[in-house]
Amino acid sequence: MRNVFGRGFDSRRLHQIMMPHVRYRGSWAAALLLAAVCLAAVLPAAAGDQRTIVLDPGHGGLDVGAKGKFGSLEKDIDLAISKKVKALIEQSQAYRVVLTRDKDVNPSLENRAAIANNNDALVFLSIHVNGSFRKKAQGSETFFMSLNATDEESRRLAYQENREQALDKSIAGADKDDIKMILWDMAQSAYIKQSSQLAELIQAQLNSLLGTANRGIKQADFVVLRGVACPAVLVEAAFISNPEEEQKLVDEAFQDNVAQAVYTGLMRFLAAYGKN
């Protein structure tokens, strides 16, 4: 699985551009001009070199998601937490963040995955809170994609041999334009292992920061994860259907903790597996 993460930010290049100011010390005009040129050259270059984290707040619009007894809606909490995660990631200035929705709309599940692929995303995180028929259901869990028997059958049909390697090569080697707008069915199957590592690291943080019951990491066949061509997980932070947990979920400080847990888990994942 080499090169899955692509290029990182190249700090040496930045130095080469910034250093020459020593030569032009004599002239303020030249220095100013150089500074302007440097800024113009460096800023877009840096932005271009930044990899993208795609955050996916669940549901939206007419799809309110799960509902709480006190009237809170999953879609609102998903969006609030996602925006907090975005702010934390952007503070570090190392990554670009794209939200699949930043207001009360409901992009299709395929479009959410396509946004990740079109941005050549480094990681895709879908943020949800859980809902149950059971009043006692509680706790937090992190999901990654499962390959069930039916999927295995369709995979076998579509890709006879070693699909993982083929997909890996096409991502690493091909011009980025070639893979734009492409949404593979089951593209996620090439990233199951990394996704499980990501799930584990986020779940560990949820456990230590939220104090909610540990429901562990699980595998499920979620539509939104299927077509994502990078490590991807779906976080279920507590149960909005449980009145006690609903009250936590609408609390700003609790939402901050969820965001911090997701952010820290993500950073640990990138530190361990995201650097070339």
Partner: protein
Amino acid sequence: MKKPRPILFALLLAVLAVLVFWFIRGFAPERIAGPGEAPSPAASPEAPVSKETMKATLFFLRDDDGMFIAETRDVPSTGSVTADAEAVLAELIKGPTGGLVSALPPETKLRQVFLTKDGIAYADFTKDLTAAHPSGSDAETATVYAIVDTLAFNFKAIKKVFILVDGEERETLNGHLTLNRAFLPDFTLIAKS
């Protein structure tokens, strides 16, 4: 008198073959019986000639941990897998009698069940199954496997279950689990003892 015999025999065979062909053809279509059709007199539930019943095992949720607990009930049986499957699912929708929790919205109605030759049961519900659904990945998973496990547990002929809503495939119930595929049962969701 001995000469015509082989011809008669052949004729008899031909007639038999045609009859067998008709018989098989009549049963080959995927739908064996549905509630919308006029039931054949022999299998009619209205005809109180012989009131057969079957022991149905229904799966409901334990509130504490979400594991399935079985509740057994007598339901009317016609001997036809699809008609019996419809009776069992109708009973599942009625919900538990004890302290368990149903994994289907009570508003749900079953439209019909049909069965393919390779053992895939299509369970077709009204759109109340999604409209009245509480959403959440836990609730979606519970609904799907309450239906799939109940059908597969009660009927050997049913190997996989495909859930339809108003006669059509749905991408998900409410935004999580992939629904437009046949599900194998997952009996690990049933509580031990």
